[in-house]
Symmetry: C2
Subunit: 337 residues, 2 copies
DNA sequence: TTGACACATGTAACCAGTTACATCAATGCT
DNA sequence: AGCATTGATGTAACTGGTTACATGTGTCAA
């Protein structure tokens, strides 16, 4: 009954005392068991078990100077696109024995800065952020801590830190080009909030600068199924002639599709519909959604690997461009007339 | 030019030396600025800025004995149901200044145990796991570390640690009852892998034990849209008479719906279809999906809060049952004949 | 003038590990 | 027998913060 009632967690010294060895020996049993005799090893192990000793992570970290934690700042988890991105990141981190802390920002720079600060306080060794528009607070933080940081969902070779992502302008342009090639000239664009969201802004800019022979009208809504649905409703009830709906995210398109169906508008016969993202669900909708595939999973993998290599081997990664790809399914067709 | 070229990160002592004060004073500037004269404070601050000093999280943790990190073990992030659960958890943790590490297990107990060990190594102060079936390794780990742990997605008041979740048997039974009340007698059940998944097993058991006047056939598939789709295909091509499809997850139902549509089978006229979960997308499908709502967001909030209170105030939470709820939409109708 | 007290600051012990180096015994080789 | 070498273990100095306690200075009242 050596178990002390003083409920302090046992530490190395306690174990050493209990086993009748020095702290160094206990430490060796933990980190280099082969350097210790079988006999003392078992004795120490017994003490460890009896005292329910669990080594302190903090004490280890202080010596190694490492926490083996990286952080990701994303707008939300409640959107398949970010969730699968993170899923990919996490899967790449595991082999490096790095762990991932997730912090959501709701696309709010202030929240982002706060949570970034907390991540730094925790001692993350690297950071993944979404997009390339961030508060000065965040920039200063990264600069002063010299923290490896990678921006994703956006490609910009000239950015202050490496970006791994795609060209949002191009993605939108690909979609629009597809619609114009089908003969659409009056297109309504449904997009999520522009405020604090450079991906959305870039996509809109890509549309405007594409120089294609179309009349575009823009309709902002929440980035959700409901948002897409109500935006489509607004468009329909406006009475303006439109032969195609271009949604800047698949969620919006799925929402819009619902409204179209409710109003008896056949897709693609009476209205073409496009998205951007290529969510798994887009293959299984009715009709299957024509969209522009954004390689989020690859992006997650690449970002995870790049950050891990940076953290582990001081290998500053190159910015890396991934390519959006037109996926023609059945929600688009030639414009009537 | 006091910046040393020796690229070691500056520490408290460096700052103290640079500012010509003691370490205690620097520490005070950081943690209790009001206890220091305005004048020395600015001097110290200048040194901090110049040396780009960032306090070591590990060193702080070693003193406070706290990491302010909790961990969550979930099967995958690439499924809306877990993603939104985590989104909710994270949102609750933020006000407590706790951070969340996410580890995915692919429903594999070995991976779960490994990742749990890593979480403990990192020094998490609490743990959230999915379901109530886990490897002994995990149990021993939790027992020896005395780590606050909460199991979710399952309610079992007698479990070894608190559960916050719903009765999966009941959820399935609710669904089945709805179908039988509509007169369905031949029902095909589509479910995800049973192996290592007690939620699925409980739902199946709930169906079998319901004692309702039906003939059930069971069809296992991947827990994905594609899985639901191919399972539905198998059912259709088997030629057996079935008037309703009961999917034990909404993803499966959405996949099955796709197949039904492809085969020109009208829902609900020729075939009723039900899911369990109530994903956001289920409201916007065609037809909108009748389902059993599982309160995942609430579950995330409650689990987050409960764990935070446990960690912060040693308040061991009660197990908490949340109630599944039948959501009748338009994918179910009376059985023909 | 002196004691009491507040206030700013410094000293050094502490947290819980790791690890360079020292010690010591046992073995091997000449 | 004597010396070098190997292997197991111990000692104590680190890591980078926090903090109890000590010190020193200045203000005020008796």
């Amino acid at each position: 009954m050596t178990t002390k009632m003083g409920r302090r967690r046992a530490n190395l010294r306690d174990v050493a005392a209990a086993a009748g060895v020095s702290v160094a020996t206990v430490s060796r049993v933990l980190n280099a068991p082969e350097a210790v005799t079988q006999e003392t090893r078992t004795r120490v192990q017994a003490a460890i078990d009896e005292l329910r000793f669990v080594p302190s992570a903090a004490a280890r970290a202080i010596n190694s100077g490492r926490t083996r934690i990286v952080g990701a700042l994303i707008p939300t988890l409640d959107n398949a696109i970010f969730a699968r991105f993170l899923d990919a990141v996490e899967s790449q981190l595991a082999p490096y024995r790095l762990s991932l802390i997730v912090a959501t920002t709701s696309d709010d720079p202030k929240q982002e800065a706060e949570k970034a600060q907390r991540l730094v306080d925790i001692g993350v060794e690297g950071l993944i952020v979404s997009g390339i528009t961030h508060s000065d607070v965040l920039y200063r933080l990264i600069e002063r801590t010299q923290l490896p940081a990678i921006a994703t969902s956006y490609f910009d070779a000239g950015y202050r830190f490496p970006t791994i992502g795609y060209d949002n302008r191009a993605a939108a342009e690909i979609a629009l080009r597809h619609l114009t090639e089908l003969g659409h000239r009056d297109i309504a664009v449904i997009h999520g909030p522009k405020h604090n969201n450079d991906r959305t802004r870039a996509r809109i800019a890509g549309l405007k600068d594409a120089g294609l022979p179309v009349r575009l009208s823009f309709h902002q809504s929440h980035l959700s199924l409901g948002g897409g649905s109500t935006a489509a409703n607004r468009i329909l009830s406006s009475g303006k002639h439109v032969s195609a709906l271009l949604c800047l995210s698949d969620v919006l398109a799925t929402g819009a599709l619902f409204t179209l169906r409710c109003n008896g508008i056949e897709v693609p016969r009476s209205m073409s519909l496009m998205g951007i993202d290529d969510l798994p669900a887009s293959t299984f909708s009715d009709p299957p959604l024509t969209t522009v595939r954004l390689p989020v999973r690859e992006m997650g993998c690449e970002a995870g690997k790049a950050l891990a290599d940076w953290v582990e081997q001081q290998q500053v990664p190159q910015s890396q461009e991934l390519w959006p790809e037109l996926i023609v399914r059945q929600s688009t067709a030639g414009a009537a007339g």
